[in-house]
Amino acid sequence: MTDSQHDKLKLQGLQVELAQLRAALRAVEAPAPNEAALRAQFREAVRRKAIEEAMVSRGGGSWRLPLAAAATVVLAIGVAIGALVLRVERPVPEPLAATSPEAASVAVGAFQPLSSAPRLSPSSSYSVVRVRIPLSAFAVVPGTVQDGTIEADLLVGEDGLARGIRFDEADAALVSVAAQSRQ
């Protein structure tokens, strides 16, 4: 008997055995599904997917986060200026060159607490963040202040909220002018 004939016979015998294994395997059943667990699994997957998609879309629009941060900073500055204006008594508007030294001394050097923020506490830690703000952000009526930007330091708490603001000397004068133009 040749090898190929031998193989053929072996394969025929194997087919019979495989048919029996196939039939036996058909009788093997997985444990009955737990429908409540399946549904819970489905809901969990849907929830997870929704979170992932939300994160991806947030990551995809990567310009949105800086924009939102910038908007928040501008808003915080606006509030700070509002607080500054209310505190600084300035009966007569003066030109830039004649800016009141008292007004400047309020904002220069020390941080000015923001009225809407919680009180500063010596036991808490804060970060100082330098920001650049367009002067136009301080004006209610466009064109009442000159173009350009100023730099300021924000005192930011551990919760990410701004607590205080500090201007450079020259910038404080500009801000005072801008603030007066709102009145």
Binding site: L9, L11, E17, A24
Partner: protein
């Protein structure tokens, strides 16, 4: 012909369920699970010879369905083939993880921890044990075509290879399986295997 039509209809239903799952239907997920979990379980049992292993594979396949149902493309193959493909990948990953590859197994049947006795019939059990020792590329082809009764084309989709490769793996796998099955046959049984064996093998 009737069986083909039935299979086509079944595939249409499976494909519809997958589309509904992708759209967020919980009921479709439960229904697909009910329809197909046994197929996946049997595939994994046949591949790994372990019920607990198979249960884990079923679980992972349906997690994969939840994540990727939207990626199923009926133009590339049937839903059953897609599910079998998922089961195959997960099975191979787990086998790799558990170092249960054939060539790493001890020669002695009884030495394998975690193996279970799945069938009462000793011959069937022995064939299953021999199958579990085949090189994995032969084993998966045999399980899909000879045990799961997939067509060559469907098996080619699952195995991600040409049909010719499926045929050659099947041929070599069957020959290897027959040889292993005979080798492990008790002497009393060997006389029943076939005439050529009686002529070639002499029991002590």
């Amino acid at each position: 012909m009737a069986r083909m039509a039935q299979s086509d209809e079944e595939d249409r239903v499976d494909a519809r369920l997958l589309a509904e799952i992708a759209a967020g239907s919980e009921q479709a997920f439960v229904e697909l699970y009910r329809r197909r979990h046994n197929d996946i379980y049997r595939f994994a049992v046949a591949m790994a010879r372990s019920r607990s292993f198979a249960q884990d594979v079923v679980q992972e396949v349906f997690l994969n369905v939840l994540e990727n149902a939207g990626r199923f493309d009926r133009a590339k193959g049937s839903a059953r083939a897609w599910l079998c493909g998922c089961a195959r990948h997960l099975t191979l990953d787990r086998l790799r993880l558990e170092r249960r590859w054939t060539d790493e197994l001890p020669a002695d049947d009884s030495a394998q921890d975690g193996d279970e006795r799945l069938f009462a019939d000793q011959r069937i059990e022995r064939l299953q044990a021999a199958l579990a020792r085949l090189p994995v590329e032969y084993r998966e082809a045999l399980v899909l075509v000879d045990l799961q009764e997939l067509g060559y084309a469907e098996a080619a989709v699952v195995l991600d290879c040409p049909i010719g490769t499926v045929r050659s793996r099947l041929h070599r796998g069957r020959l290897a399986l027959a040889a292993m099955f005979e080798e492990r046959a008790p002497c009393a049984e060997r006389a029943d295997v076939g005439a050529p064996l009686q002529a070639r093998e002499v029991c002590p």
